[in-house]
Amino acid sequence: MSETTNILVVGIGGQGVMTATEILAEAAIALGHDVKKTEVAGMAQRGGVVSSHLRFGQRVLSPQITPGTADLLLAFEPAEGMRWRHMLRPSGQALMNVGRLTPPVVDLGLYDYPADPIAAVRAAGTRVVAFDATSIAVKLGEIRLGNTVMLGAISAYLPFSADVLEAAVLKRFAARKPALLELNRQAFAAGRAAAEQAAAHNTDSAREAAVPA
């Protein structure tokens, strides 16, 4: 990775994209990095596109990731991963949830949902690890654990130990919702395992066929 690490976290309003980025930022801060995080949040609550930029390193100047220079792309929704793939550097890594969220314009028949966003991103030459964070979260009993699952998934791809990120997740919940501490621990571990498993079986694309949300 280059001197400054660039992570782009994308999804749609309400999925917890900004919280996830915030936790990644806290982990980087804990390690003594300079950190900047930016997003366009004005309409985020309304089911629109959310993309959150995180940059950390010795000194970060511009808060924005320049297209073609992101090291990691963490996509909470597969079509959103596809939308932002061009932000990755050629050797960048995409981590994508397969759980689809169709917007009203697709339900109205005005636009088509891409047949296979994961395959489209791969076909464009990007390395992808795809997994079903939505189902994992629902199985754990709370769909909003999805962002902790996503953080677990990215934890093996960071330039620092996964433990630091897990500690940042747990610290946040210990402070705000101690009742959810154990569930978040499980969600983090499950996300991590799912990404590892997906990486191991990366040729088996049938496994990652779309699952309705």
Binding site: I12, G13, G14, E22, A25, E26, I29, D34, V35, K36, K37, T38, E39, V40, A41, G42, M43, Q45, R46, G47, G48, V49, V60, L61, S62, P63, Q64, T66, P67, G68, A79, E80, M82, R83, W84, R85, H86, T102, P103, P104, V105, V106, D107, L108, G109, L110, Y111, D112, Y113, P114, P117, A120, V121, A124, G125, V138, E142, I143, R144, A213
Partner: protein, 624 residues
């Protein structure tokens, strides 16, 4: 959203991860400000929202930006340090006060934070608020990141008191909503000096104002000297002297990132510009590029001063000057190959515009408007502007806060022959109505306009996150506050009692009937909808619904409601006995998201939408 008062502020010398807005709030508190006021508006909202959680100062949500500035100014007259925050377009509303309070000046420091939406993330235009510094002859500070937002806010209070002038703290979205590390300090309390009567200073009748005008220009000259001496303006040297940059705000960060070896004159105290220092800088490099967002203000002033600079000749006049914008433009200037040509093109994906929320009370309103023929809908600023989108397409115009009223009257009075039978409807939310809509309605009544007004009272400033306002009976800290009675208010403005109706927007037949009746009657009428925003505490969730697959006929009526919890599972076309081809859309309801508002049941002919608990599997989530 009502942050609790008196949280423990982080101790002095803490290093905190703060947005620009957080950082300004902290600085305002530390500066000993006693009064702070604002009307919510992206990207400025969090400044006051966060400030309201600090102890020992008065904060308020004002009804509009003009009032907020007047409140802050009044406090400054009384000798208190005061603060006011607004989005860029808010200053258009507040400008009437600004353009004269610059003549009186202030006693207690007054800092006005104006947040420009460079890049249009959530606004109707991209106006450059630095213009107000020139127009009102007041200093402008332009922080580039969170630490500077904090430092500059503190410095702005010092400057304000030193020159008895309001100071404009100009932010952009890329400062307000960027988080970075900030080292904070401690609060210094500042008792108010007290109001000293002095009519020649505070009563701006022509004779008094005439004596204040020269003082304002004198002050501006003194400020220019202060800007030249200011530590907020400095040169960051670099070895590559082919090109130097003069930059302010976030553009400084983008320039430094893109051209680490180029000298840069970094302007923090950007108006009045330190022209002679900039002239010296320009002479020290081969060529100078001015990187400013977004208008060529400084560039024009430098050119007028005879300094050869390059600016908007090569850089765009709209949007942010991010590295991917700067680098190719500069490469072309230097005759070098474009560096960005290797970046991949984005893959094509459907657009995902913001939508109304599941069960939003506005859904029923726009569904109804979309079903009524021959109407023109004059719209306003708020979540309900989304009614212009699919599937409703039921909002025909929108420009600025409260404008739905006046535009509707103009559409009525200026109608062409072809529009003779067209009914004019205005749609406005509660907060926008109180902000700038009331006068428009009074104008409609007084001038006998034929307009039907839909006043969507959802008891919150919904678009900016559900802040309290006079319509919901809660103050900034969630405490009980006097609540406006919209029904009485519109009657008091002169709308006849028979023409005022309060309607539950989830009762579609009633809404439809009222709208049809009132649009037919040629006089002003107001239909008030009375259900709360689904994102505020007043909203009560009910049991969710589901679709019985076997009963659904694929008519698609429920899809026209526009609720994002309704998804089409498959489409087909069938040939009817009359030979007509009919498209069908079969649906499911995302039960986890459904809050049981019951809107979609109403247009469902086969009654295929039933309580989800029947299926035995309820998956209820808490609202965000």
């Amino acid at each position: 959203m009502a942050p609790a008062a008196s949280l423990n502020p982080a101790p002095a010398h803490s290093r905190l991860f703060m947005s620009g807005n957080d950082a300004v709030a902290r600085a305002v508190w530390e500066a000993g400000v006693r009064v702070a006021a604002a009307y919510p508006g992206t990207p400025a909202t969090e400044m006051l929202e966060v400030l309201s959680t600090y102890p020992d100062l008065y904060t308020e949500w004002s009804v509009n930006e003009k009032v907020s500035l007047e409140v802050a100014f009044g406090a400054a007259m009384a000798g208190s340090r005061s603060f006011c925050a607004m989005k860029h377009v808010g200053m258009n509303v507040a400008a009437d006060a600004l353009m004269t309070l610059t003549l009186t000046g202030v006693v207690g420091g007054l800092v006005i934070a104006v947040a420009d939406d460079v890049g249009l993330s959530s606004s109707q235009n991209e106006q450059d608020s630095r213009t107000w510094g020139r127009f009102a002859h007041i200093p402008v500070f332009e922080p580039a990141d969170s630490q500077e937002a904090y430092d500059f806010a503190l410095a702005a209070f010092e400057l304000s008191e030193r020159f008895q002038t309001p100071v404009l703290l100009r932010l952009t979205t890329r400062v307000c909503h960027v988080k970075a590390l900030v080292t904070v300090g401690e609060r210094h309390t500042r008792p108010a000096a007290g109001f000293a009567k002095e009519s020649s200073r505070w009563v701006m009748v022509p004779g008094h104002a005439a004596r204040r005008l020269p003082l304002m220009f004198e002050r501006e000259q003194q400020l220019a000297i202060a800007a030249a001496e200011s530590s907020l303006n400095y040169v960051e040297d670099g070895g590559d002297r082919r090109l130097g940059f003069i930059a302010s705000g976030p553009a400084c960060m983008h320039v430094r990132e893109s051209f680490p070896d180029s000298p840069m004159f970094k302007l923090g105290f950007s108006y009045p510009a330190p022209i002679e220092r900039l002239r010296e800088f320009a002479a020290s490099v081969d060529r100078v590029v001015v990187a400013e967002e977004v208008e060529p203000l400084l560039e024009t002033e430098l050119k007028a001063a005879g300094i050869a600079v390059i600016g908007k000749d090569i850089l765009p006049r709209i949007g942010e000057l991010a590295p991917n914008v700067l680098k190719p433009a500069i490469a072309r200037l230097l005759g070098e190959p474009a560096p960005e040509s290797s970046v991949a093109a984005p893959l094509p994906v459907f657009p995902r515009p913001p939508t109304m929320c599941v069960a939003c009370p506005h859904l029923g309103v726009y569904y109804t408007l979309s079903q009524v023929k021959n109407i023109t809908v004059s719209g306003d600023i708020g979540c309900y502007t989304l009614g212009a989108g699919h599937p409703w397409n039921a909002l025909d115009a929108c420009i600025s806060m409260g404008a739905s009223m006046g535009m509707a009257l103009g559409l009525d009075k200026g109608r062409g022959e072809a529009d003779a039978d067209r009914r004019i409807v205005a749609v406005i939310g509660d907060s926008t109505f109180m902000h700038m809509g009331m006068q428009g309605l009074l104008d409609i009544v007084y001038n006998r306009g034929n307009v039907t007004v839909l006043l969507l009272d959802n008891r919150a400033v919904g678009m900016t996150g559900g802040q309290n306002n006079p319509g919901n009976g809660r103050g900034i800290h969630g405490e009980e506050a006097p609540r406006v009675d919209f029904e009485q208010l519109v009657k008091a403005l002169g709308v006849r009692e028979e023409r005022v109706h309060v309607v539950n927007p989830y009762e579609l037949p009633t809404l439809f009937k009222r709208l049809r009746e009132e649009t037919k009657i040629p006089e002003p009428s107001v239909i008030i909808t009375n259900q709360p925003c689904v994102l505020v505490q007043d909203y009560q969730r009910k049991s969710p619904f589901m679709v019985e697959e076997d009963t659904c006929t694929g008519c698609g009526n429920c899809v026209d409601i526009g609720c994002p919890a309704i998804h089409v599972t498959r489409r087909d076309t069938v040939l009817k006995p009359n030979g007509k081809e009919v498209a069908r859309s079969f649906v499911r309801i995302e039960t986890a998201a459904c809050t049981g508002c019951g809107l979609c049941l109403q247009p469902c002919a086969p009654k295929a939408i039933v309580p989800a608990s029947v299926a035995g599997k309820v998956h209820v989530l808490q609202p965000h």
